[in-house]
Amino acid sequence: MTPAAAVSPLGASAPGGGAPPLLRLRGITKTFGAVRALDDVNLDVHAGEVVALVGDNGAGKSTLIKTISGAGPANGGTITFDGSEVHVRSPQDSASLGIAVVYQDLALCDNLDVVENLYLGREERGHNQPLSRLDEVQMEQHAIELLDELQVKTLASVRTEVGMLSGGQRQSVAIARSLLGEPKIVILDEPTAALGVAQTAQVLALVSRLKERGLGVILISHNLSDVFEVADRIVVLRLGRNGGEYPATSDQRQAVVGAITGVGADSPVAAQAAAAEASTPSALSTKKEPS
């Protein structure tokens, strides 16, 4: 691999010059033995903003998310949350900061109903003794309120088993559950993967509502049309580095595709990509359409 030459995020001058970002990553580095999975990555997320994190397979999206969620802490770099520098070493750390992650495989229990899944691990009880009864009435009431607020309206009953729900409904339940911890940032890992058209629309509408609630949202997706529909800003990762940053306006589509594949004319890593392409031609040659 090439040495860690500083590839600064050329994408744009930092957007929203006003308020400081809620989450700021600077120079994040993560190595697995000799492999540098993340190299000097920067990322800003503001409150009430949807930042899409895009990149090809192996670009480091999941690795970056794990450094934020605490599932795989970074080796180097700084994380600033709400103005102060923090160390995220475990999922508990990130949860207590107010960072919630909705994983791709949802982590729902199919055999439990919607209310039981929403409150899994944070059940409400009448008293706080080990064997005191669950407060089902309160949990159900809150669940209905929360789902109404999020305008999740397709559920026949909050007592339906999650295993019986459609993919979009399951995703809605998973996202709603992440909100019960009152997070400030929600990370959505491929929320629309394997969903139909109507269900994708349902989930994207839900993402917009998270933004309206003033949450910072990091959206990881392979689907660029979803990204352009709902995101404010697009951050491209490529080969473990920042590959550019773009406003999510439709005229940027070509540029984003170029940055992901590394062959666009205005891509900051075009030269690097050319070198990489020589070693792995098959993976990249398909998108070779320089504008």
Binding site: P91, Q92, Y103, L106, A107, L108, C109, D110, N111, L112, E116, L120, G121, R122, E123, R125, P130, L131, S132, R133, L134, V137, Q138, E140, Q141, I144, Q151, K153, T154, L155, A156, S157, T160, G163, M164, L165, S166, G167, G168, G196, A198, Q199, A201, Q202, A205
Partner: protein
């Protein structure tokens, strides 16, 4: 039933598509029955069929004496099955429950007879032995990440050996302590039986009214009044009817009261407490449970402790009924029947689905088959084959209906 009609995300049509024929409650109930959601109703139908067949074949089957004997016969295996249900809900298995029941009974008998201990400390020590075994097996399995099948298979062998060692060279220990023998040998006076039944029904009614009031006050959707009435009515008929029948003979056996009390308490533990919720979560999706912050290993270990403790108690009940403990106590087909019962009554082997009532109902089904065949003087060979057939039939039904459940999801 994909999302075809839902062109807009908040389309009301999708709601109708999901719930299906909302208009027809009879049809819906039948559908639920077929889908295995009313598993306990299904097993009641199976039980009624079995009773019908045996009562036609032999007029002594449906008599007060025989039904009382039946409850005594199932008390021990039903108690062991309660623990098995907990383990099955995790999607695990405990093959050591039979051996643990034999070992615990031996410990109690030896302490009582050979060392002259009072009955209660002897029983307490036997239960502690069970709990300790569960703690050990649960810890080994969760810490070293060894399948419980293997750990408890090793336990099955080891605890059998321990039982032989505890019994020593006498082989059989006859129990003489009245307090121990009373567990399976004493019957409630008729008036006391009625009183217990009345108190239980009263408590159920009060709980149901309180439940409906709380939901009503919170503005939540209510189950139809009819279903509450039917459920309470069913419970009342079963309780009072049962008391009426057994009072015609010797009265309500204490062992039955113990078994039903154990089942009811574990039912509350599983459905009304945080711990119970976590058991279902771990059985449904252990990874999801872990990510939700549930201490999965601790839940598993506690469940194995409870299962072994229940196995120990079942062994004590069996010893009380046989008035002796010997080298084959807890052996033979006890383990297999204790696992088969809950499975016949609808508890899934794959975790996350089931009810502790299946321990009682499953024991009743197996006990009825065994009892009825004994009355008809069938050979053991036939008895085993029929029980095996019923088990296979029940599991096949379960497999077909759970497949129905997964295909509902698109």
């Amino acid at each position: 039933m994909s999302s075809a009609p839902a062109s807009a995300p908040q389309n009301v049509k999708e709601r109708d598509a999901l719930t299906g024929d909302q208009g027809n409650p009879v049809k819906r109930t039948l559908k639920k029955l077929a889908a295995g959601e009313l598993g306990s109703v299904r097993v009641l139908i199976v039980l009624a069929l079995i009773w019908l067949i045996f009562s036609i074949a032999n007029e002594n089957f449906l008599t007060a004496v025989n039904l009382t004997n039946l409850t005594l016969q199932i008390a021990a295996v039903g108690t062991i099955s309660v623990g098995v249900v907990l383990v099955l809900l995790l999607g695990e298995i405990d093959l050591s429950v039979g051996a643990v029941s034999g070992l615990a009974a031996s410990v109690m008998a030896v302490l009582s007879v050979k060392h002259g201990w009072n009955a209660y400390p002897a029983i307490a020590v036997a239960l502690l032995v069970g709990a300790a075994i569960g703690l050990f097996q649960g810890t080994v399995s969760t810490r070293l990440v060894i399948p419980t099948f293997v750990v408890t298979l090793a336990g099955l062998l080891a605890w059998q050996g321990a039982q032989l060692a505890v019994l020593g060279n006498t082989g059989t220990v006859n129990i003489e302590d009245e307090a121990i023998l009373n567990l399976a040998g004493v019957f409630l006076a008729p008036w006391l039986g009625w009183l217990v039944a009345a108190v239980v029904v009263g408590a159920l009614v009060v709980a149901e009214i309180g439940h409906r009031r709380a939901r009503g006050a919170a503005g939540l959707e209510q189950a139809p009044t009819l279903s509450s009435v039917l459920r309470l009515g069913g419970a009342a008929v079963a309780l009072f009817g049962g008391v009426l029948v057994v009072n015609a003979d010797r009265g309500v056996p204490l062992a039955l009261v113990i078994l039903v009390a154990i089942v009811a308490n574990f039912h509350i533990l599983l459905t009304r407490t945080k711990f119970g919720r976590h058991v279902f979560a771990v059985g449904g999706n252990a990874e999801a449970a872990r990510r939700a912050g549930i201490p999965v290993a601790r839940v598993r270990t506690i469940v194995f402790m409870l299962a072994s403790t229940m196995a120990a108690f079942g062994g004590i009940l069996a010893a009380s009924r046989l008035q002796a403990v010997n080298q084959s106590s807890g052996g033979s087909d006890l383990l297999l029947l204790a696992i088969a019962g809950p499975v016949i009554a609808g508890t899934s082997l794959f975790g996350g689905r089931g009810s502790v009532w299946s321990a009682l109902l499953g024991a009743l089904v197996i006990g009825s088959i065994s009892n009825g065949m004994d009355l008809l003087a069938f050979e053991s060979s036939v008895k085993y084959m029929v029980t095996g057939g019923v088990l296979l039939g029940a599991v096949a039904l379960d497999a077909v209906t759970t497949r129905g459940r997964t295909t509902i999801r698109t």
